[in-house]
Amino acid sequence: MLPLSLLRTSQGHPILVELKNGDTYNGYLVSCDSWMNINLRKVIHTSKDGDQFWKVPECYVRGNTIKFLGIADEVIDLVQKEEQAQAQSSPAPRGRGDSRGGRGRGDRGGRGGDRGGRGGDRGGRGGERGGRGGSERGDRGGRGRGERGGRGRGQ
């Protein structure tokens, strides 16, 4: 069982959060995300030494400030039920689907890169065409060549 999935299952249940600075937040878990950022409701915030208390209707705690989370014991039973439900609803085919998706993304990424390279070649050919055009027209062509030559050859 993944820790973040346990956290997601405990949404709506009471939770205890101890931060790295020692402060504790007791409240109901409203929501959480993949960075462990959490949103709590009906919170009692206690200072590290236990001498100060705040009653906070709602608060947001950034995941990286958390030391640990105390979860209500009833939640573990809920997780087991969810795991059983998931095992029944998703058999093997999902795995094949994932591999197709992975290969597809890989192929497109590779071709996209090739297109970028060809685009560069086109730019070079365009410059060559400009040079040939200039030689036929005389003076204008000469200046054109000189300017372009300067950039290209680093005068």
């Binding site: 069982m1 105390g70 209500a72 573990i76």
Partner: protein
């Protein structure tokens, strides 16, 4: 029994915890606490789920046991994870145990 495995680079070091799942482990946290409980799950960041956990507080006066129940310990607070030998653990007489508490980690 010792678990020494050659870890695949794709899985990462965290997979060393796999043999410990559903067993009693001892976690030493960065603030110097010792949490003992059943490992129910973990992830690549070493966030750990402990079931039926309690904290053992050591002091020169004696040992205190604080029950925590189900908890998630955030990975960046974990220093050490060790497998508990339950038979050996039962033999410890906590009433007579005296020890200095661990100091918190200093970076």
């Amino acid at each position: 029994q010792y678990f020494i495995k050659r870890v695949q680079t794709t899985k990462g070091m965290a997979s060393l915890l796999e043999p410990f799942v559903n067993q009693t482990i001892s976690v030493l946290t960065n603030d110097g606490r010792n949490l003992v409980g059943k490992l129910r799950g973990f992830d690549q960041l070493v966030n750990v789920i402990l079931e039926g956990s309690h904290e053992r507080v050591y002091s020169p006066e004696g040992v205190e046991k604080i029950n925590l129940g189900l908890c998630i310990v955030r990975g960046d607070n974990v220093s050490v994870v060790g497998l508990v030998d339950i038979e050996l653990d039962k033999k410890i007489d906590f009433s007579k145990l005296r020890a200095e508490p661990l100091k918190p980690v200093v970076h």
